[in-house]
C-alpha cells in the first residue's frame, strides 16, 4: 500500500490531482452507478501499483471509469465491459485472474496444498500406533493428570 501510493503520488506531482471516483463522473441512476462501481473494482489501473481504477487517482483510471460508465449506459453487461477492457489490455487489467492455462497453478494450488497437507497428516498419524491406542499405563495416567492439572487449574 505504501509503495503504490508513493507511485500514485509521483504521478500526482506531474498531473493535476484528481480524486478516485469524482462526483462529476457518477451516473444519475443509482443501480447503474452501483454496477459501474462493481466493474471498476475488478479492473486494475494500468499505470499504478496494484490499485483498482475505482480507488486510483491516476488520470487514465479516470478515463477508464468514464468509459466503463459510458458502456454500461449503452447497455453492456458488467461482464461485457470487463471483457472489453480485457481485449485491450489482456490479463494485466484483471484483478481477479481468469482461470486459464497460465493460471491453473495459481487457482488450484490452495486446494492441492490443503489436500496434500491433509494426506501427509493422515499418513503421519497412521504411522504411529494410534489406531487402537493401548490403555494408559498407571504412570502415564499420572503424567497426564499432572499435565491436565497445570492446564486446568491449580
Amino acid at each position: 500500500m505504501k509503495l503504490r501510493y508513493l507511485i500514485a503520488l509521483a504521478a500526482l506531482t506531474l498531473t493535476p490531482a484528481a480524486q478516485a471516483v469524482e462526483p462529476s463522473e457518477m451516473l444519475p441512476d443509482a443501480t447503474l452507478e452501483a454496477r459501474a462501481r462493481e466493474v471498476s473494482k475488478a479492473l486494475r489501473c494500468v499505470q499504478c501499483q496494484n490499485e483498482t481504477i475505482d480507488e486510483s487517482n491516476a488520470e487514465i483510471a479516470h478515463d477508464m471509469r468514464v468509459l466503463v460508465r459510458k458502456r454500461i449506459v449503452a447497455g453492456d453487461s458488467n461482464q461485457q465491459v470487463i471483457d472489453y477492457m480485457y481485449s485491450r489490455y489482456g490479463d494485466y487489467v484483471l484483478l481477479k485472474p481468469r482461470f486459464a492455462a497460465n493460471t491453473i497453478a495459481l487457482w488450484c494450488a490452495p486446494l492441492l496444498l490443503l489436500i496434500g497437507g491433509a494426506f501427509v497428516l493422515r499418513q503421519r498419524l497412521r504411522d504411529r500406533p494410534t489406531a487402537a491406542p493401548a490403555p494408559l499405563s498407571a504412570e502415564e495416567t499420572a503424567a497426564l493428570a499432572a499435565l491436565d492439572q497445570t492446564e486446568r487449574r491449580a
Binding site: 505504501k2 509503495l3 503520488l9 469524482e22 490452495p110 490443503l114 494410534t130 491406542p133
Partner: protein, 662 residues
C-alpha cells in the same frame, strides 16, 4: 566526522560478527568452553558497534547534515524532530541499519539473559545470529551504504514523504523489524538444535518466549500499518492485499502456526521436525519480506533492475541463508522424530489442523504475491493477482480454522472427547445461530447477507467458545474463583485473550466490508448528507497553514437528530517540501463504527467534492489486534517462560518418570 565513525563502526561490527559466527561454532563442535565463551562478549561488542553506527546515522538526520545522501533525500529543516528521527529509517539504507540494530540488540539479550541456556546451544545460536548479521552488514556496506556523502552538501533536504509523516508509519518499521528479528531467534535456535540433533520440551520453552515476543511485535506492526493506511490514505480501506502488506502478513501466518506447534513440542514432545521447519520458514519469509520489499523485487521488478548488484546480492544472500538451513534440515530432521503419540481427535490434533490451515493460507498468499513474477519468468504473460483472488482463497481457509479454534481448547491432550466438547459448546453454537440470523436480516442484499452472516457467525462462535472454555476452567461464579483465575497458567489466559481478539478482528473486518456506506457528492456550504443515521452538515472550507504544508480544511458538523455531537475537519494538504498533494481524512468514532470524511477538490463555485463514509466496527479491528497482542504478552509473562525456568538437566532426570509437569 561522526558519520565516518558510524561507517567505520559498521565495518568493525562486520569483523566482530565474522568472529562471532565462526569461533563459538568451532568451540561448540570441539566442546571447548574458552572458544564458546567468545560468543557473549562478541555479541555485546557487536551491539555496541552497530548501536553506535545507528546513532551516528540518526545524528546526521537530527543535525540536518544534508551532506549525507539519506538525510538529504528524507529530511528537511522544517520537519518536526520526531519525523527527522523517523526519516532515518524511512528509506532503504536506513531501514537496513535499523534492522541490524534490532538484530544486535536481540543477540545481546541472549548473551545477557541466556545464562541458563546450555553453553553449547547458546554458543551455536549466537553464532547463527552472527552469520545473519554478517550477511546484512555486508549487504549494507557493499550495496546500500547509508553513510554515502554528497559533495557539495546541499543547503536543504528534500524531506520525508508526507504520507510517512504519521505516528503510525514512524513506529511501524521498528515494530515490524523487531517481529522479523524475533523470529530470527527461533531460527537460530532451530539451526543450533539441528546441529546438536536434539529438540525437546526444554528447547521449545527457550524458543517460545522469543517467538511470542516476535509474534506480538509483528501483530502490532501489521496493525499499525493497517491503521496508518486507514487514517491517512483517504479511501477508508484498511487492507488491500498489496505485496508490501503481504510480505509482513505471510511470516505472521507461519509465525502463528509456529507459536501453536511449539506448544505441542513443549507439552508432548511431538511435531519436532515440523516445528523446526516452521521456525526456518518463518524467518526465511521474514528475510524475503524485508529484502523483496525494500529492494523492490516484489513490488516492481523495475527497482530490482535499477541496481543489479543489489538484486544479485539479495539473491545470493537468501540462497545461502535459506538454502543452507534447509539442506541442514533435510539431513538432520529425520533424526528428530518420535515423541508423544496422540489420536486425531485431541488437543494435538486440533493444533495440527490449525497448522495445516495457517500454512496453506501462508503458501497461498505467497504464491499469489509472487505469481506475477513467476508468470513473467516462465513466459506466461503479464498478469495481475489482486484482492479478489486473495479474498477468494484466503477466506475459505479461515472458516475451518476458526471453527477448529473454537473446539480445540476443549479437547484433552493425547485423546480428546468430541462429544463432551460438543456438550460444552452448546451455548456458543446457539449464540452463533442467533447472530447468523440477525446479521442476515440486517443486510440489504444476498451478498451482504452471506458475508455478514458468515463472518459475524464465525466471530461469535470463536468468541463464545473461548469465553465458555475460560469459564469452564475458572468457574467465575463459584467460590474460590479468584484463586482459580490466579492459578490458571498465564498462557491459558493469554490464549483466551488472543482468540477473543481474533474473533473481534473478524467481526470488524466483516462488518466494515459488508455494511460500509459511502456517499460521494459535490457539497455547497450548508448542505447536509445523512450517513448511517447521522446528519453531516458541510460548513465550507477554510485555508489553514501547517508546519510544512498549506491546507484547505473542510468543516462538517455531525448531528444525531437535532443534537450536535461533533465536528469533523478533513484536510486537503499541499506539502511544500517535497511538493505533493495529500488528503487527511477526519474520523469520528461513534457507537457502531467510524464516520469518515474526506475533502476533495473544489468544484468551481458549486462547493467541494466530498466523500463521506460510515465504516461499521472498524475500531474493533484495532481493539482486536490489541487484545491479540495482550494475549501474547500475557502468555509471555507465564512463569514457565520466564528466564531461568527451564533447565534441561532437571528435565532429563525426570524424563523417564513423567511427562514434564511444570
Amino acid at each position: 566526522m561522526i558519520t565516518e565513525l558510524g561507517h567505520f563502526a559498521l565495518a568493525l561490527a562486520l569483523i566482530v560478527a565474522l568472529i562471532q559466527a565462526t569461533v563459538p561454532m568451532i568451540g561448540a563442535q570441539k566442546n571447548d568452553p574458552a572458544l564458546m565463551a567468545i560468543a557473549r562478549p562478541a555479541a555485546l561488542a557487536q551491539f555496541g558497534l552497530i548501536g553506535f553506527s545507528f546513532a551516528a546515522l540518526i545524528h546526521a538526520f537530527v543535525t540536518n547534515d544534508f551532506s549525507v545522501v539519506g538525510a538529504y533525500e528524507n529530511s528537511h529543516t522544517a520537519q518536526p524532530l520526531f519525523y527527522k528521527i523517523a526519516g532515518a529509517w524511512g528509506n532503504h539504507e536506513g531501514s537496513m541499519v535499523l534492522w541490524i540494530t534490532i538484530l544486535a540488540l536481540f543477540g545481546a539479550s541472549v548473551a545477557v539473559f541466556g545464562e541458563n541456556l546450555p553453553p553449547a546451544l547458546r554458543a551455536r545460536a549466537l553464532s547463527v545470529q552472527a552469520m545473519i548479521t554478517v550477511g546484512f552488514i555486508a549487504f549494507i556496506l557493499f550495496t546500500s551504504n547509508p553513510f554515502l556523502r554528497l559533495v557539495p552538501a546541499p543547503l536543504e533536504g528534500v524531506g520525508l514523504n508526507p504520507l510517512l509523516q504519521h505516528p503510525g508509519m514512524a513506529i511501524h518499521p521498528p515494530m515490524l523489524y523487531s517481529g522479523y528479528v524475533g523470529f530470527s531467534m527461533a531460527f537460530s535456535f532451530a539451526i543450533a538444535a539441528l546441529i546438536e540433533g536434539r529438540v525437546d520440551a526444554a528447547w521449545a520453552r527457550w524458543v517460545r518466549p522469543w517467538t511470542l515476543a516476535a509474534w506480538v511485535l509483528l501483530t502490532c506492526g501489521i496493525g499499525l500499518g493497517s491503521w496508518w493506511a486507514y487514517t491517512i490514505l483517504g479511501w477508508g480501506g484498511w487492507w488491500a492485499w498489496d505485496p508490501v502488506e503481504n510480505a509482513s502478513f505471510i511470516p505472521w501466518l507461519t509465525g502463528t502456526a509456529l507459536l501453536h506447534s511449539a506448544i505441542v513440542v513443549e507439552k508432548r514432545e511431538a511435531l519436532k521436525s515440523w516445528t523446526i521447519l516452521l521456525a526456518i520458514i518463518t524467518f526465511s519469509l521474514s528475510l524475503l519480506g524485508t529484502f523483496l520489499v525494500r529492494s523492490g523485487i516484489l513490488t516492481s521488478v523495475h527497482a530490482f533492475a535499477s541496481d543489479p548488484t543489489r538484486g544479485v546480492f539479495v539473491l545470493a544472500l537468501l540462497s545461502v541463508a535459506i538454502g543452507g538451513s534447509l539442506i541442514l534440515y533435510a539431513v538432520r530432521a529425520p533424526t528428530l522424530e518420535g515423541g508423544g503419540v496422540f489420536a486425531p481427535i485431541s488437543r494435538e490434533g486440533g493444533l495440527l489442523l490449525n497448522n495445516l490451515f495457517l500454512s496453506t493460507a501462508a503458501a497461498t498468499v505467497l504464491l499469489g504475491t509472487l505469481y506475477p513474477l513467476i508468470a513473467e519468468a516462465l513466459d506466461l504473460g503479464k498478469l495481475t493477482v489482486g484482492p479478489p483472488y486473495f479474498n477468494g482463497v484466503f477466506v475459505p481457509l479461515m472458516v475451518p480454522l476458526v471453527i477448529v479454534a473454537g473446539i480445540g481448547p476443549f479437547l484433552a491432550w493425547k485423546r480428546g472427547d468430541l462429544l463432551a466438547a460438543r456438550a460444552r459448546l452448546g451455548v456458543a453454537g446457539a449464540g452463533t445461530i442467533f447472530v447468523i440470523i440477525v446479521s442476515a436480516a440486517l443486510s440489504h442484499n444476498d451478498w451482504q447477507a452471506l458475508a455478514a452472516a458468515g463472518g459475524l457467525g464465525l466471530s461469535t462462535w470463536l468468541a463464545l467458545a473461548s469465553i465458555c472454555e475460560w469459564i469452564d476452567r475458572v468457574h467465575p461464579l463459584r467460590s474460590g474463583a479468584l484463586a482459580r483465575i490466579r492459578h490458571l497458567p498465564r498462557a491459558a489466559h493469554g490464549m483466551t485473550l488472543a482468540h477473543l481478539g481474533f474473533a473481534i478482528v473478524i467481526a470488524g473486518a466483516t462488518a466494515s466490508t459488508a455494511w460500509k456506506e459511502e456517499h460521494n457528492q459535490i457539497q455547497a456550504a450548508g448542505s447536509t448528507v445523512t450517513v448511517a443515521g447521522y446528519t453531516l452538515r458541510f460548513e465550507g472550507a477554510t485555508d489553514v497553514p501547517g508546519p510544512n504544508y498549506s491546507a484547505k480544511e473542510g468543516r462538517f458538523v455531525v448531528l444525531k437528530g437535532d443534537d450536535e455531537i461533533g465536528v469533523l475537519t478533513p484536510q486537503r494538504r499541499e506539502y511544500i517540501q517535497p511538493r505533493q498533494v495529500g488528503t487527511s481524512p477526519a474520523i469520528m468514532t461513534v457507537a457502531l463504527g467510524d464516520i469518515y470524511a474526506v475533502l476533495g477538490d473544489p468544484d468551481g463555485d458549486k462547493g467541494f467534492a466530498t466523500r463521506l463514509y460510515f465504516q461499521p466496527l472498524v475500531p474493533w479491528l484495532w481493539l482486536g489486534v490489541l487484545l491479540m497482542a495482550a494475549g501474547g504478552l500475557c502468555s509471555l509473562s507465564d512463569r514457565r517462560l520466564r528466564v531461568g525456568a527451564p533447565r534441561r538437566t532437571t528435565r532429563a532426570a525426570t524424563n523417564a518418570a513423567a511427562q514434564p509437569a511444570e
